[in-house]
Symmetry: D2
Amino acid sequence: MTYSIAILGASGYTGAELIRLIAEHPQMTLTALGANTKAGQSIAEVFPHLRHLDLPALLQIDEIDFAKIDLCFCALPHKTSQEVIARLPGDLKIVDLSADFRLRDPQAYQTWYGNAHAAVEQQKEAVYGLTEFYRDEIARARLVAGTGCNAATGQFMLRPLISAGVIDLDEIILDLKCAVSGAGRSLKENLLHAELSEGYHAYAVGGTHRHLGEFDQEFSALAGRAVKVQFTPHLLPANRGILATGYVKGAPEAVHAALAAAYADEPFIVVLPFGEMPSTRHVRGSNFCHIGVVGDRLPGRTIVIGALDNLTKGSSGQALQNANLMLDIEETTGLMMAPLFP
Amino acid sequence: MTYSIAILGASGYTGAELIRLIAEHPQMTLTALGANTKAGQSIAEVFPHLRHLDLPALLQIDEIDFAKIDLCFCALPHKTSQEVIARLPGDLKIVDLSADFRLRDPQAYQTWYGNAHAAVEQQKEAVYGLTEFYRDEIARARLVAGTGCNAATGQFMLRPLISAGVIDLDEIILDLKCAVSGAGRSLKENLLHAELSEGYHAYAVGGTHRHLGEFDQEFSALAGRAVKVQFTPHLLPANRGILATGYVKGAPEAVHAALAAAYADEPFIVVLPFGEMPSTRHVRGSNFCHIGVVGDRLPGRTIVIGALDNLTKGSSGQALQNANLMLDIEETTGLMMAPLFP
Amino acid sequence: MTYSIAILGASGYTGAELIRLIAEHPQMTLTALGANTKAGQSIAEVFPHLRHLDLPALLQIDEIDFAKIDLCFCALPHKTSQEVIARLPGDLKIVDLSADFRLRDPQAYQTWYGNAHAAVEQQKEAVYGLTEFYRDEIARARLVAGTGCNAATGQFMLRPLISAGVIDLDEIILDLKCAVSGAGRSLKENLLHAELSEGYHAYAVGGTHRHLGEFDQEFSALAGRAVKVQFTPHLLPANRGILATGYVKGAPEAVHAALAAAYADEPFIVVLPFGEMPSTRHVRGSNFCHIGVVGDRLPGRTIVIGALDNLTKGSSGQALQNANLMLDIEETTGLMMAPLFP
Amino acid sequence: MTYSIAILGASGYTGAELIRLIAEHPQMTLTALGANTKAGQSIAEVFPHLRHLDLPALLQIDEIDFAKIDLCFCALPHKTSQEVIARLPGDLKIVDLSADFRLRDPQAYQTWYGNAHAAVEQQKEAVYGLTEFYRDEIARARLVAGTGCNAATGQFMLRPLISAGVIDLDEIILDLKCAVSGAGRSLKENLLHAELSEGYHAYAVGGTHRHLGEFDQEFSALAGRAVKVQFTPHLLPANRGILATGYVKGAPEAVHAALAAAYADEPFIVVLPFGEMPSTRHVRGSNFCHIGVVGDRLPGRTIVIGALDNLTKGSSGQALQNANLMLDIEETTGLMMAPLFP
């Protein structure tokens, strides 16, 4: 069976990545592409790299006939997404890639994002989209909230350690390095090539990055107590890839064993042999997440490093994985492509 | 039916690209990977980005049982390739990615490469591997010689113009820009990141690049007279992609029409609407070649620009396309993936 | 003696480059920095890399007391510059880095830039700022029009060849590759890191780039007849540097000799030994221009390649060189720094 | 007065950086350049970006007449340096940029570097070259051991905090990101452009990087007790720049105050206003080190971030600063150039 798919926000980077992946999916057809600011343009104009595909032109979102859509991906900006989703048919299956439905507590949402939530009803039914940990709920969900790309990386590294009780919950540091496509296709001076290439810096230092809302929610739920990590993101001169270096207190072997056990049967999460380290270039363009563990020279301290492609496993690949579950398609369908190296 | 495939020279960039593509090919299985200098290592050690694949460890070439192989890709260095192929079974189907069998005239080979050919017999049966122009011969061939990546780019741009007689054959200039993976994975000071990034330069200036041997052979055969182009390659700070700017004398509309007609039914060669220009980033990681045409302000002069990924359509993708033909598999199988952007 | 200097448009890349250079100039003091959109900000806010300098905060241009200024650099956008300069004191020495005063013929200006010139009177006294060829006029000038960065590169390569009569004037092709800072600090989608890095493309193909107005004006004046070159610029994934590959018809030795003779006494123009090729990385951050010559395999054809830093010799370094002349300071003062490599 | 200077190891990146800086130094003349593997070549051959300088050709080290040299920089590889310095005249002033004389305890040297020290006598008189903290000893020294570039960065961030007693000495984490020129000009597969660009990874994870020997020596001496930090370096796709993110336990304001006080009179160490963050692009090519401080959301935890150019303040700039002191030249001479941005 082939399902009819819509993408809202098709002119951004996560939209392009969804098209790239779905174009080769044997059970999905792209029926409608919405992009308000570029409506009327062909995909060849907006994304010349996709010009070989036979795709419909971009539409205003309200021009789309959702009755014909089996599942809709929302790759819209934060805040816009909740406004749009509030008006979509109530029985439409939706995978949202924005931040709008990730935080279950509307108060937490307001704290991190600065505005009252505009779709509180829809929020109640949203399932958090970290596939490997919410698989069953996602399969039954109508609305899935894709995780933040940084939040996904950190959770893949840390959730099994919290669950297994092998690390000190009050001493977790995540030093994360993210490529520039994570910031989207928006016109900001600090995203210009001349500002970014050949340099790097930290941002949102001190615990102000919004993905901390997800870490707090998920890690605390998992531990049954408040868990607050330190998290410092850095912007790097590359287009794709997140690498996060985690500093934890716990026995290295126990940390590695907990991760290896947690992901033994996961097709996309690869725990490297003890002592081996991942690299963003080894996951680029793929849906894989590589995790490495090594013990520090200081006894009882362990370094955990995770790497994934922010546009694939960090957002659009994850979204497709969730959509597969929601449509009862084999979970890995369309997602087993190898990374692009060099 | 599934075919059993070997790759010799699996530890270089074209070898890695072959594995990436073949891993998803529905009718091919990678049975043997040869790489003399890294024999004994697993693919995860040599190419960690391919560690999710269930592949055999690297072997010495003479450890491979070629009786079980349906088709063998040779991704070995120039000169090594002819020595190895001379010793392989005489009925083994081979796609060679090196320069060794591209020039039909052994004297021309010696002129451009500086040594006598060591496999003159095998050379006689070799078919030039530019798929779109040698399709029938390739389908019947035992040994196919993959083209140079620069040579492929230039020929896609110029062959239809020579055939159609729409340009001055004595006034052709190709100014070509190539990414660094074209130089392979060899340890040379000028390929270090610190030497290359943030800079660019021309090399082999003045008509000394070996791919001119292919241009001379092919264009002259096509024209029925000697055709010698000017060709200047430049090295650019990027990993993948060739963009060649061609300066020809002929009417822009006739040039565009000749290209459009020649490639109307080709799945991988995309002639852009008149006046649109290609970019390497729109073909990266794909088997597509984009070609644009625009008229210059000087009457009777036309600029033709072609772009492809040197590792895919320029070598390993082309090789797989040829292998599909040789094994009577649908030609586009395993090659329709979209480019990776950004 | 120390001169008092103002920079208008101090918040762009050419403004920053002027500050970098003048900060170390022994006979100049930066008295006023104008930048309307960022007026009120400190230089540390606008350019943190200049925070060690003791500089005045940015001002609105009309807040500046020009009576105290010995020389003013205008690094404003095209069109804005002529409007501002028309209102500045008529005896103020000015070096303009915009395109506004480069074309002597107001009609030519209108043709290339699309609007009537708003400062025709000032235009009459403007001297074209290609230092090595207008040195005496510049020393006596009140208003000097800095050249385009591409126009400078091409003229350094070609003027001596036209003057010496060693090339065919109707067969000149300039294939130019420019880094991204040449496009300035403006917010355009195609200047984002994720759009530019790892890729390259041609733009303004077919003879539409505005710097052709300068080539036409200068080359024709030099030759005493109309000279129209073919010129194709390309955008490269690097921050600084222009490399232009020139295809001319003429004897290689004569071409090299003409260049060597023309620049024998020039401190900044380096003609490489015959057969050696320049690289942008060897001039980055410096005021040098390197030029190489090689003969093609086709008799009577020669390749000339020039390289310079678009922000230094291509604009701000050139501007300072001109200012030195206008203030009767030794021409090379503040400009002999070595390139930054790697 | 002008001093006569020699550089041994002039063909590497730190050698090139020394030449770049000294070429503009008003009181130094480059008299001899040693580079055994490239002896006989001109500087234009080895470093075309320095071709405008009037410099002697490269020599074998034993061809140099050290009697005419006032001060010698050794930019040789580790281990080679000690062997060469052991044979140099005993009264020659030397600034060594290698790791060979940084560790005062020969046993510690052997532990970190794996071999017995071959110049134990010379080691005894060596002064550790972190200028801002060993200024007086350096001024009187004959042999100064330049610090590691990572070690310099971390010490600038942490020494004042240890001295002031404002942080927990057992809870210091340094997550460091280094550009590729820090690895030198050596031919290693992992330094190729195609391997490095568009990706990043950690290396020497777990406390195995040799610069930890310097941290241990210096921090422990400062604290009067053993201090062992956690240190994880990462390799980034850029040519120059180190950015280190330090996680400490202490009050943010006290941390900032301690740094501001320590560096109030230092010309090269810039403590940013509280809450501002440095970037490698704001120090590139300069001798400045920028340090920023911000408090984490977790009470009592502070993030300190330092940035410098590994080739300048991290090695060759520091070396020149030390040489100035040793020759009784004003310390900042030749080192006040602004960073190169973009």
